[in-house]
């Protein structure tokens, strides 16, 4: 424990949220948890015991029915696009998408093709009382890829949806809705009806997304957050074809998107991808001025800063979001999301099925 050496941190400590009851390892909940963990399996290396529980029955079955089996995962060669200081990706940059004609980079050509393919999809027939069902395989570093299924009301989040992700203890978790009913959701949690209402002009749509996100000083740049927000609208959803197309065209207006020729999803399927990379600043340097301190000449500030940061700070960390598309159909098949950390490197998903069903919990025939 450290002694807090200043008033501000001491005041902050006093402001910490305090549990209603002091947690004790002797409490009944704690003893039950201990028994559950000890009963769940043995640690590695214990003779005569399995390393960890094997994949669930459902997971094994899925491995058989999935059209693409896990091939040897090829190393994904990523095109680096460092986000520099200032410029369109910097925090605080205007959140409005300015009219411009983007250069036809490989990423923009790919997104244009993906948008055309999305626009050609047949529009699903939906009624307000149905549910959007999405099944995906998730690899989040906690074990082998596992199944995650969601059912979300087409029209109203106040109608309880359903989440099944047994690997994380969600065997039949209702997805709660918002406060005011009926609730079509928001850009952060959309229903089909909300997506249906979005503008199909890409620039108008992107401006709406920029207005929705709240870029914080010191946080990821607005462009990164906008790309992420579009991913939220595409993730575990079904959107009308013209809206899906507009979302991809809006993403193409975000500066800094690059193409990845070969990417692999959570279950080893290869595809072509677009990605957005965000490199956290290595740090910032402060030059004192005033008596006894002289500001370096402008021409030397950058070099001095670089040297100071190299000496004092950890290297920058790069976070990446990839959307992976099937090379033939250009349908989105998955998403890779790097999450640098000590134990979990990536959050990867592979979409297995999307469908509109009548009831939460219904699985389309054949699955």
């Amino acid at each position: 424990m450290m002694a807090l050496d200043d008033d501000l941190l001491t005041a902050l400590r006093a402001a910490r949220p305090v549990p209603e009851t002091e947690p004790a390892a002797s409490s009944p909940e704690a003893r039950m948890m201990l028994a559950r963990i000890l009963g769940s399996g043995r640690p590695p290396g214990e003779p005569g015991r399995s390393r960890r529980p094997g994949p669930s029955r459902r997971f094994r079955r899925l491995l058989i029915v999935l059209p693409a089996t896990a091939a040897a995962a090829a190393a994904v060669v990523l095109g680096v696009s460092l986000v520099g200081p200032g410029g369109p990706n910097a925090p605080g940059h205007s959140h409005q998408a300015r009219p411009r004609t983007p250069a036809a980079t490989p990423a923009l050509r790919l997104l244009a093709s993906v948008a055309r393919a999305a626009a050609r999809q047949p529009a699903p027939r939906v009624t307000d009382n149905q549910f959007v069902y999405v099944a995906s395989m998730v690899a989040d570093g906690t074990g082998p890829p596992h199944l995650r299924q969601t059912w979300l009301s087409v029209s109203n989040l106040c109608r309880a949806g359903l989440l099944k992700e047994p690997a994380h203890g969600f065997t039949s978790e209702p997805l709660p809705g918002g406060g005011k009913c009926p609730d079509r959701g928001s850009l952060g949690n959309p229903t089909y009806r909300l997506l249906e209402s979005l503008p199909t002009d890409p620039r108008t749509l992107l401006n709406m997304i920029y207005a929705h996100i709240h870029a914080k000083a010191g946080g990821p740049p607005a462009a990164y957050q906008a790309f992420d927000a579009i991913g939220t609208l595409l993730r575990e959803t079904i959107a009308p074809p013209r809206v899906s197309a507009a979302l991809y065209r809006a993403a193409a207006l975000i500066p800094g998107v690059t193409k990845v020729a070969d990417a692999t999803d959570a279950i080893g399927r290869h595809g072509v991808a677009v990605e957005f990379r965000y490199t956290t600043p290595g740090g910032e340097c402060v030059f004192k001025t005033g008596p006894g301190h002289r500001l370096p000449p402008r021409s030397k500030i950058a070099a001095r800063c670089a040297a100071q940061i190299a000496k004092e700070h950890a290297p920058p960390v790069t976070e990446t979001i990839q959307w992976i598309f099937d090379k033939a159909t250009l349908q989105m098949i998955g998403e890779n999301d790097s999450d640098p950390g000590a134990y979990t490197k990536h959050y990867e998903t592979a979409v297995v099925q999307r469908a509109v069903v009548d009831n939460a919990g219904d699985v389309p025939a054949g699955h």
Partner: protein
């Protein structure tokens, strides 16, 4: 000491610490229990890797990754973040200009996630910068530097002079220091 005995001893100290860690991140009830149980399950599976002298930074690193994964998964539902930020909102009667708990939490919520985390680890979870560096996977020097910058931004969010912790003068200019633009390597 066999593994089970070791884990039982670890559990005694880790359960309350991890429960508080979860509460400090706005988790309550089943969400908090999930985080604690998930962290301890990983510790059980990897009991040979858990440091014997000071296991808490190792456990916090695991908990931090599980928490971030949970936020990522729940982003689709928006529930946790909404609840978390609601719990950090100023309370009625708080003095927004002073160092009241409500004002401090609101100022915290205005910072980036990284800044919030380093401040939480030090001020709320009671870690030293060296232990913070283990949780964040960086050097102790970098951890100290991140803490320094996060603290300065917290002070700025509260309208305090970062160095002196006094209310910033309306005439405050950049006479004390020259802050360059951030430099990326």
């Amino acid at each position: 000491m066999d593994r089970e005995t070791r884990f039982r001893a670890l559990f005694e100290c880790a359960y309350p610490a991890l429960s508080r860690y979860a509460r400090h991140r706005g988790l309550t009830g089943a969400d908090a229990e999930d985080l604690v149980a998930g962290t301890l399950e990983i510790a059980w599976r990897r009991i040979d890797e858990v440091p014997t002298d000071d296991p808490l930074p190792w456990l916090y690193a695991v908990a931090r990754n599980l928490w971030r994964n949970k936020l990522r998964r729940d982003r689709r539902r928006g529930s946790i973040l909404t609840r978390f930020h609601a719990s950090l909102s100023p309370q009625v009667g708080d003095d927004p200009g002073g160092l009241s708990p409500g004002a401090l939490r609101a100022a915290m919520a205005s910072l980036s996630d990284d800044d919030q985390e380093v401040l939480r680890l030090v001020a709320w979870d009671g870690l030293t910068p060296a232990a913070v560096s283990q949780v964040l996977g960086c050097t102790p020097v970098a951890a100290r530097s991140r803490l320094h910058r996060a603290r300065a931004r917290l002070a700025a969010a509260l309208g305090l002079d970062p160095g002196l912790q006094r209310p910033r003068s309306p005439r405050h200019k950049q006479g004390d220091s020259y802050r360059s633009t951030e430099v990326h390597r």
